[in-house]
Symmetry: C2
Subunit: 345 residues, 2 copies
């Protein structure tokens, strides 16, 4: 039995308590300052109000002020914040993590640098401290609901220490939670971050088809066209990001699962229906949209790399289009002609 402390009571971290408790580990969930209500409810009856499931018996719940108690004797700390909580995590949590306590982060996203370089959160965490804390992360297709329901799931744990990765895997591996390992941290993180941007892009086709034919019917040719274009652009962006191994299938699997549900699909459909971004965001008020963050950052990085002669923004017409919807306030108009290729070999 190991002791795992989670910081952040979001859906994904909370769902990880399912494989961990299945394996008999001790699990402590510490809410961020934004999680007070969730923690109060979990303490009352183990029901997670946004995950909409009871967490397993035996999980212990702590408020943020009890962080030190919750970390005492822990073998692993799970960083369970969304990308909107990354700064808070770096300022408030990393400084108090013991050197010997490894971190496994569920946060998906990348941060662009002024020169167009994209950095993963484990890289940012590592750069934020001089102490030798081991930062690792989980990537791959996994919705929190379905992990909580024990639907068979395959993810990838990434980090720089292959021995530690194997030991992390031994904590989590169950008959319904399967784990690959990779030391290509940036490649894995880039692949799974990109899927949020492109899931929004594919969902545009759903909205466009609703406008043409009503909401009862969903067309797939146009979704598949945008899905294929997404795969092509993701392949290029992974290379631009400097991945070391081939991680495309991780991002594509994750893209597949993200198209089918949740907030990214909702915003994509609204934008596809021609709703301007500002109004779409109003309608979805209160939701955190990783897809919007990564789209803006990745598009900005591509433009900077284009200016430096390292990339061609024209190679990413779908990314540029969704960025124009989000940051430029434009209305949807899929640039079909720009997707057409001539490949004469």
């Amino acid at each position: 039995m190991s002791r795992i402390t989670m910081v952040g009571a979001g859906m994904m971290a909370s769902a990880l308590s399912v494989p961990l408790r299945y394996n008999g580990h001790q699990v402590r969930i510490v809410g961020t300052p934004l999680d007070e209500e969730i923690i109060a409810r979990l303490k009352a009856d183990s029901f997670h109000p946004t995950l909409k499931r009871r967490l397993p018996d035996g999980v212990e719940y702590y408020s943020c002020s009890q962080l030190e108690t919750a970390m005492a004797g822990a073998d692993l700390l799970i960083g369970g914040v969304s990308s909107f909580g990354v700064d808070w995590f770096m300022e408030n949590i990393i400084p108090v993590i013991p050197d010997s306590l490894p971190v496994l982060s569920v946060t998906k996203g990348m941060q662009d640098q002024p020169d167009g370089t994209m950095l993963s959160y484990p890289e940012l965490y590592r750069a934020s401290t001089t102490r030798p804390i081991s930062f690792n992360a989980i990537g791959g297709p996994c919705t929190s609901y379905e992990l909580a329901d024990m639907d068979p799931t395959e993810v990838t744990f990434c980090g720089w220490d292959s021995t530690l990765l194997r030991s992390l895997k031994s904590l989590f591996e169950t008959p319904f939670y399967h784990i690959s390992l990779s030391t290509d941290v940036r490649g894995v993180e880039c692949a799974v971050a990109l899927k949020n941007a492109y899931a929004l892009a594919v969902s545009l086709a759903v909205g466009l088809s609703y406008v043409r034919e009503g909401r009862e019917f969903e067309h797939y040719n146009s979704q598949a066209a945008l899905f294929g274009q997404s795969v092509r652009e993701m392949q290029g962006l992974l290379t631009l990001c400097g991945e070391k191994a081939s991680n495309l299938h991780l991002g594509v699997g994750d893209l597949y699962v993200t198209v089918f549900g949740g907030r990214t699909r909702k915003i994509g459909i609204l934008l596809g229906e021609g709703v301007p971004y500002a109004e779409a965001m109003e309608r979805l008020s209160g939701v955190t949209l990783e897809s919007v963050v990564i789209t803006e950052r990745m598009a900005r990085a591509v433009r900077r790399l284009d200016a430096r002669g390292i990339a061609r923004a024209a190679d990413y017409p779908l990314l540029m289009h969704i960025d124009s919807l989000i940051t430029g306030g434009q209305r949807v108009s899929i640039p079909w002609a720009e997707f057409e290729q001539e490949t004469f070999v």
Copy 2:
């Protein structure tokens, strides 16, 4: 205006009459000996009984015995047979095609050779005759229903003559039918053929989730895991097939659209529910299953390449599993552990 003659009144060829008539071309559809009923109905009221749509006004219909009349003055011949009609097409049609009449084929599939080499149908057609007929093919994500409904669609025309490809594109391109071009015939054809095998594989997860939780609910984590694994194996198989350009996104877009409908999904769900292959085929009697054909052929090719030391069958655990269901009569049991990777770079 050009004159296009189609041989085969199947759903995909018939749906191509929509962009062609949209562009004002003359379209003649010639049924194969198996299409007599379809042609009779089309002659009566333009309704295509399996496509379940009326074809555009102005399309002309011919029975197989009128082939010569229907080909007179044609600028393009569309090969509209399924992979089950390829031999018939090579024996009966190719010998009577004039040298100067280019062929555009919609047939998806590959044929394995005794040494494990996979050949595309355009390659087989070219090898079947000494005459200089230009063989070309259409790949990419496109369901016939949605093309007939003018849902925006993106496909790739492949062939060896880039000038001819551009002229073919000019016949078909419409605001709802977008066309990329490629001279990597085998790569394009392999990518889009593979999607049939892997669409069956992804659909297994749907059946498995039905068994666990009933038919009202569909899980996506497990589908996404199989989708990601499919992408990884497709990437390897494309390399094995000897693709010259990167065609993965074509196959993946096509995989996406194929998972959502039709016969391949049906057989995959049945196999996923634990129904033995023989019984599943009985339940789906009368349907042509390209997915079964390509799975058997591709798995056999991989085993032969493995025996020759060129490939490792263990790198394709999902393909090997669906082949064991089809040719070995085994029951579904997803080899999750075999999907797990260690990528230490």
